[in-house]
Structures are given as C-alpha cells and as structure tokens.
Point group: C2
Chain length 369, copies 2
C-alpha cells in the first residue's frame, strides 16, 4: 500500500536566505508514501525538478495521471515503499502549496510578486531541512533527485554532510553552465515581454484560463533542451499535418504541434512568476559558491555518492556529471558514476526508468563498502 | 583588387514556384568580386545563410565591418578573387533587395506581407539560375555555401546537375530535422505573438527603430543553436555583471547580456516577415522531395561534391552531413567528406575559417580525378 498523504506545514520562524533576505512566515507542502519505521531510519527524500511538485507518486482521486516519478516510487519498485518512507516536498518559490511569489506577503493582503526574494537551491534545501526537523527526521537513508532535484541532492550533501547516508543525483550538474542559462533566458525574456504579464501584476485567473503565450514560447524552448536530436527525429520525423499543405506558411510539422500543445498547456498549470524565480535559482546554482574551489566544496561530502548521467542529455551534459565524479575520486569520496546509454536527452530521467532504475535500487540497498 | 560591385536585376517573366504559385515580377540583388575571364569559366557562386545577404565580402563605403565571408573571399584568400569571379545573390524571400514579403505586390501599391507565396530552397535556386542566365553564365566552376547556403548548393547539384563543376557544402543537411524545426518554431511563434507584429501589418519604420521583441526572443533561441555547450562555456563562463547583485532577480550572467544584445540588435536590421518565410523555406527543405529516396535524388548529381561538417554543430549535426557522404559513396559520386574538429558549434562556418579554408581552396583548385 502506497499510503499517499499530502500535508502542508506552516513555519513562523524566519528563513534566512543566501541573499541576506528573510522569508517569514513560510509554508511547505509535502507528500509521503509508505510508513516511517520505529527506528526512523528508512526515510528516502525525493527532490523535484523545475516544474515538478511534491506529487511524485500515486494517484489523486479522480486523476488519470499519477505523480511524476510513479514508475520509480511504489511497492516493489526501485524506491520501494514497502521498505522506505518516502518524502517529497514542493520547493519554496514554486506554486503548488509551498510559499512562492504569488503567496500572501504577510502581514499585507497582497501577493509578493516581484517583492518575493530570490531563493537559491541552497535555500530550498534549508527550508526542507527545517521541515524534516519538525517531522522529527534528523537523518535520512537517501536523497534522490534528477535535474534541479539533483542540484538539491548535491547541495544537501555539501551543506548538511551528516544528514543523508546516500545521495543519488542524476541528470544534474555542479554549476549551471551558460548553455542552460541561455535556454532559461529565452523563457524569462519571453514571459517578461508578454503584455499580459503586466510586470508581474497579471490576473492569475485569466492566465490560468487563457494561458500566457510568453510562457508558452519559453516552455517550447525548454522542451528543445529536454530532448535530443535523435529523440526528436524518432518521435516526430518530418511528419506534416495532413490538413495543411506543405506550402502553406502556417502548415505544421508534427514537432511544431507537439511544442505548441505542450507550451500552451503548460501555462494553464504553472505560474509565470514561479518560473522566473525557479529558473533564477537554477541559473545561480553553483555548489562551489562560498568555497575556494569545487574540490573544497565536495570534500565536505560524507554521504555515499551515486551519480547517473545520460549520454545525450543536451541540458546538463554527461561531462558535467563526470566532472563531479573526477573531483569525488580526487577527494577520495565513496562515489559511483554511471553514464546511461540513452539517446533520449535530458527527459530520460523521467521517461527511461527501465534504463536506470536498477542503479537506484542497488544504490539504496547495498551496504556501504 | 576585390572589385566589389552591387547590382539589382529586374525580371518580368513569371517565376513558377514549387507550391504552384507564381512570383511576378521579381528582383534579385547580387554582388560580384573579381573579374569574369574571357572563357567565362571562372565563376564561383557563393550562397548565403538564413540572415545573410549578397554582401559576402569587402567593405561598403563608410562601413567598419566587411561582408559576412570576407575572411574567405578576396585576393589570395581561399576563394581567390585574383582567379575567380565570385557572385553572391540575396535569396528571394529575404529583405536586402531581392523580392520578399515586404516588396510591392505589383500591380497594387501595397506590400505582399502574408500574401507573399511560400518559397522553397529549390525556388531560391531557380531564381538564381534565371539571374545567371541573364548574366550569360550557363555553367560555373563551383557553388560554395554554409548552413542554408549548403542547402542551396545541394539543391543546385540535384536540380541542375550540369550547372556546377564543384559543390562545396558545409554545416548543412539533406533534410531539415525536427531539432532545427523546433528552434525555428520558437522564433516564428514569438514573432507571431508579438502585439507589435500586428499579423504582419507592422509599421516597418517603427520596427526598425524600436525593434520587435518577439523577433529578438526568437533570435536568442537561434543563437543557442548556433553555438555549442563548450563554446558558450569558453566565451561566457559564469561571468556575472558586477553592477547587479547575484541575488537580484534581474541580475545578468554574461551569456544573458550577449543574447539580449544580439537579439535586440538583430530586429533593427532584419525583417520579421522575411524571418517567417525563410525559416519556413528551411523547415520544408528536403532534397529528396519529388524523388522516391535520398539515393534517387543524389544519384542525379554530376558535380564533384565536397562536404564539410563541424563536430559540435548543434543545429545540423555532423551525422547529417555524413549521411549524405554515405549516400554519395553508395551512388559512386565523386565526393570528399571532412569533419572539422571544432567545439564552436554551427557558427564555426562563419568564425573558424582557419580550420577549413584549406579544404575550400583545395576543392576549388584540384583537378577532378
């Protein structure tokens, strides 16, 4: 039994952010699967990506789609909910229950909007640590995440070296590279220039109904970075919609229909200010910040490190994960690195579970050598 | 002496397009360098890319920047104007003198705008062939182009097999793949959704003055595809503008400043309708169209084929050029293929001339074996 539970915790103590600013009060919405054992030593933390949420597994009543990593999390699955108590929380800055730019800027009635402070991946991790403290969880078996989830896992490993026994980070990086920042820039610029965005003073009900084309266009650019040349060629080829002539200016290739659908659909369930703030958090992510070098930062890690990359990941290249592995070896950390032979691209961590789930399972279950 | 000359030819005969539509009348603006010899057998045709023009080399009076391939074309350069008479013409659909969507829709006073017919790469090539006929040039030594210029060169080789002795095509493909179509989609969507675009009824004077943010954003996406992960990392690193704090929402990494500058600057010198039409021409480019297979299409080629790809070209992958080479071998064509060891990305064909100019020179000068 998955035993899916969703909760929101309210915190009145100030959250001191990396910027020097304060978030106060703040909420964190989280979800759990499985049962906490008596020794409280079977906790697995799952961390989500840019547009993910705390809803990582199972079905909500009436939903036809499960949580975003349902294939990986559940009874007898790689993250086995018969064994582990799994927690996934929505990051601060996001829009699924945890405090973000559209939350009330207490004590005022209105939303923060641009007055929301810039949060970093380190801040997201700090907020989660406070949540876990409240839940009486002071040490966990593992932290598992992909993409921005991998960034959180790595940041946990460095900032709280005694918190997790194992870190399983996939499709991430040690510091966001200009290629990824460039894709985020297209999205940010496209949101900011949309007249319906109104400098952050958009009407969220109207946006939810009609979408925000600026965010849709930005998301289309994002989708390019999530795939690869070959996965796009396999998925779409040069298929052309039959009801439009090849020589009509607005006739569409299948890849165009895909981007349109996913782009515009996205604007109905994600908040544009959250998109600005979370992409900012990704852009400024650098685990070496505050240290003299990446080596110095990573030398703090005590957890067993499991790094998984995907060969044709176009967003965070396999070479970026490999660099962390090289540093881990240099610093004599316990570290295992696997490059998954996949043409799918970045989204492989969400889609090609069969290619890497055994490594996650092994990592969770093997005793430390 | 480069002997730069710019001309525009006016054609009153109809240009029958691949779509079945007609362009009539039409103009072609072109530029020449060097001297046509008496035997008229020293012509080298240069074909330009998406946003290129007929101005491929030399300086216009008062300009500080030369034509886009000035490093390659000139006295004693790889395309040696002491030996060759070089012609480069602006493609139809573009906005630098040849007929395009903002040209007058004769006999009416107004511009075509959306009434302009979709043109294909094959149409661009056909129009050039008509120009060359008027100039009394019925056969040329070589056709050289990169990116969309390579598409034109390949299309020339197939449609007019007896026209050129040598085809030198770099950083191109045999048919535009969904990855490239996706980047064009972001740009097209971004232009179309810009309220100042007014469904093609924009005021071009206002656009030229203020820019069109939709096109700027689309161009930013384009710039990502022109570079590579490593060229971006080398060029920009994680350099952050000092006058903005790291934790300011609108603080900028250097790559962001670069994209903004190039994106917004671009809108001041390129026409948004031309961008829509030329990206459409690129999207529908497929040299096998009208044939049963790529093999059948390429089997028509009689010219000596020189294919040059760039290892980290993210827009048109080296593997796409390699596929043409494989087919050329299968069809027993005279074909040479070189993959240039470059991390720069697609723009290498404009930037890293020193890495491939010797192949261009060799290709132009060696006798056919």
């Amino acid at each position: 039994m998955l035993n899916l539970q969703t909760h929101t915790e309210h915190f009145t103590n100030p959250l001191y952010l990396e910027s020097g600013r304060i978030l106060e009060p703040f909420d964190i919405t989280y979800e759990t699967y499985g049962e906490l054992n008596e020794k409280r030593d079977n906790v697995v933390v799952v961390t989500h990506a840019l547009t993910g949420s705390h809803h990582a597994a199972g079905y909500y009543e009436g939903d036809s789609k499960p949580g975003w990593w349902d294939g990986l999390i559940g009874d007898d699955k790689a993250i086995d909910t018969k064994k582990y108590f799994v927690i996934c929380s929505n990051v601060i800055g996001s829009c699924f229950g945890s405090t973000g730019p559209m939350s009330q800027m207490f004590p005022y009635e209105e939303s923060y909007r641009y007055k929301f402070p810039v949060v970093s991946i380190k801040d997201m991790v700090k907020a989660q640590r406070i949540l876990f403290d409240r839940l009486g969880i002071h040490r966990v078996h593992a932290i598992v995440g992909g993409s921005m989830g991998a960034m959180q896992a790595m940041q946990f490993a460095i900032v709280y070296p005694n918190f997790a026994d194992k870190i399983i980070a996939m499709a991430g990086t040690y510091a966001t590279q200009p290629w990824a920042i460039a894709f985020n820039k297209v999205a940010q610029e496209s949101i900011l220039r949309d007249p319906d965005f109104k400098n952050g003073y958009y009407d969220s009900k109207i946006i939810a109904k009609n979408g925000l084309s600026g965010m849709a266009i930005g998301r289309m650019a994002g989708h390019i970075s999530f795939l690869s040349h070959s996965s796009m060629a396999d998925k779409f080829g040069r298929e052309y919609k039959r009801d439009d002539g090849l020589y009509e200016l607005f006739g569409k290739f299948q890849v165009e229909t895909y981007l349109e659908y996913n782009g515009y659909n996205f604007t109905k369930w994600f908040d544009p200010l959250s998109y600005l703030y979370i992409t900012k958090a990704i852009n400024i992510y650098d685990i070496a910040r505050g240290f003299d070098s990446l080596e110095e930062a990573m030398s703090r890690i005590k957890a067993e490190l499991h790094l998984i990359s995907f060969k044709e990941d176009m967003l965070f290249r396999a070479s970026e994960m490999e660099k962390m592995y090289e540093v881990a070896k240099k610093e004599s950390l316990t570290c295992k690195y696997v490059e998954i032979d996949s043409d799918y691209g970045h989204d492989a961590f969400l889609v090609e579970l069969d290619k890497f789930e055994k490594y996650v399972k092994e990592a969770l279950e093997q005793d430390r050598k």
